[in-house]
């Protein structure tokens, strides 16, 4: 029975959008926490930790996210661990995000000049004071643009979770298209919704940068 693309469908899509956003938020929090660990392991003065972090980053960045999703969704049950789509998607997106956040934050930290550390030292600031009052505030400002840039990628990449049956915006659009045979209006609407989220994020990032004197 073919029906028209209606207001009800739009409501269904907006409801599914909550899961897109929810998944992105979970991946941001999980990936952020893991990413801090990755960044620290990457810079500590202990070679095996650096190698571990580099290996992890290369493995995650060098394999497709879809493959990682499948590994968790189809792979874990082979070991007797049952996971639903939510858990598989949350885990794999968090791990995916952590590799990128780790590198972004390491780069931001290291892009603060050695001279800033020295200037702090020359004023008698101890290591912790130099880190928290001189270097981290600058690194944080530098990291705003690349962090939000990656968040935009992350939001769009949540659509891959549709392939393991997780009903977010893209999966909802597929379902509606199957019922209405109106792919153009459905997917255009979906694209517009993704755009609204991503564009807002970019705008937010630019506002933040201006407020924090990023170039300064």
């Amino acid at each position: 029975m073919i029906r028209e693309f209606s207001l009800n469908d739009l409501v269904f899509m907006l409801e599914a959008l909550r899961w897109t956003v929810g998944l992105a938020i979970i991946a941001t929090i999980g990936g952020g926490a893991l990413g801090i660990i990755v960044a620290v392991l990457r810079v500590v003065a202990f070679k095996p930790a650096n190698w571990l972090a580099i290996g992890y980053i290369n493995l995650v960045q060098g394999t497709p996210l879809l493959g990682q999703l499948f590994v968790f969704f189809f792979g874990l049950p082979l070991f007797g661990i049952q996971v639903d789509a939510w858990v598989a998607a949350s885990l794999s997106l968090s791990i995916y995000a952590s590799a990128f956040f780790g590198e972004i934050w390491r780069g931001s930290l290291q892009s603060v000049s050695q001279r800033q550390w020295e200037a702090g030292a020359a004023l008698g600031l101890n290591y912790w004071q130099r880190l928290t009052h001189v270097v981290l505030p600058q690194a944080l400002r530098i990291s705003i643009a690349p962090t939000v840039g990656f968040l935009v990628q992350l939001v769009k990449n949540t659509s891959l979770a549709a392939l393991i049956g997780f009903i977010e915006l893209t999966r909802a659009s597929q379902i509606i298209t199957a019922a209405t045979f109106a792919p153009l209006p459905v997917y255009t609407t979906a694209a517009a919704l993704y755009f609204i989220i991503c564009f807002s994020l970019s705008q937010f990032s630019q506002r933040l940068e201006r407020r924090f004197h990023v170039t300064r």
């Binding site: 001279r115 800033q116 020295e118 200037a119 030292a121 020359a122 004023l123 008698g124 600031l125 101890n126 004071q129 009052h133 001189v134 505030p137 600058q138 400002r141 924090f212 004197h213 170039t215 300064r216």
Partner: protein
Amino acid sequence: MSLVELTDIHKSFGSVEVLKGISMTMEQGEIVAIIGRSGSGKSTLLRCINGLESVQSGRIQVAGIEATKPGADLNALRQRAGMVFQSYNLFPHLSVERNVMLALRLVQKMSVDEARELAHAMVAKVGLAEKLAAYPDELSGGQQQRVAIARSLAMQPTLMLFDEITSALDPELVGEVLKVLEGVAREGMTMMLVTHEMNFAKNVADRVIFMHEGRIHEDGPARETLLEPRTEELRSFLSAVLH
């Protein structure tokens, strides 16, 4: 005990020995200019004095603190020996006022009001009272360097180290920084400065140290040493920098 005492300092970067046995003393109130070709070790010497560089051997005592003793309180030493760098090194994320206040608050534990008052006085002293709210990137190089001097002076150090502080400036901005420096000198601050400004060294410093290939090659009263160099090396260095 002298304010600064260096005994047979050796410093290497990898296999390159930059300081090959430096010994000297400096008294409270002295103004010492260190001159020499680039690579002669003068900046390294200055950086060793406040512990930014560690040395391979020798003894460094500054304002009663032995920097070369294991576990020396370098942060305490650095409060007594302020340092201004060639590249200003202001904190770009803080306004002029907060650049000067930061260490007063964190290191000297002053109240906000106290720190602010002192910061305002110091910034006014270098002639930038109207720039308190400005950020470093809104200032010229000369202005940034004057703020860096104010930031360091605010800590009320016993000794000030200046590392080629006019070398990164456009020629027309050098004068304003040297004028501030002269003012600091007039107030009786003990100063050690690495400089290429020979006229400044001649007119403001009491004493000139000429470094050559990692050693102190000449050390004497400023005017005399610069006008009548005793060694061929200093003579050829001076004729090279003066024209």
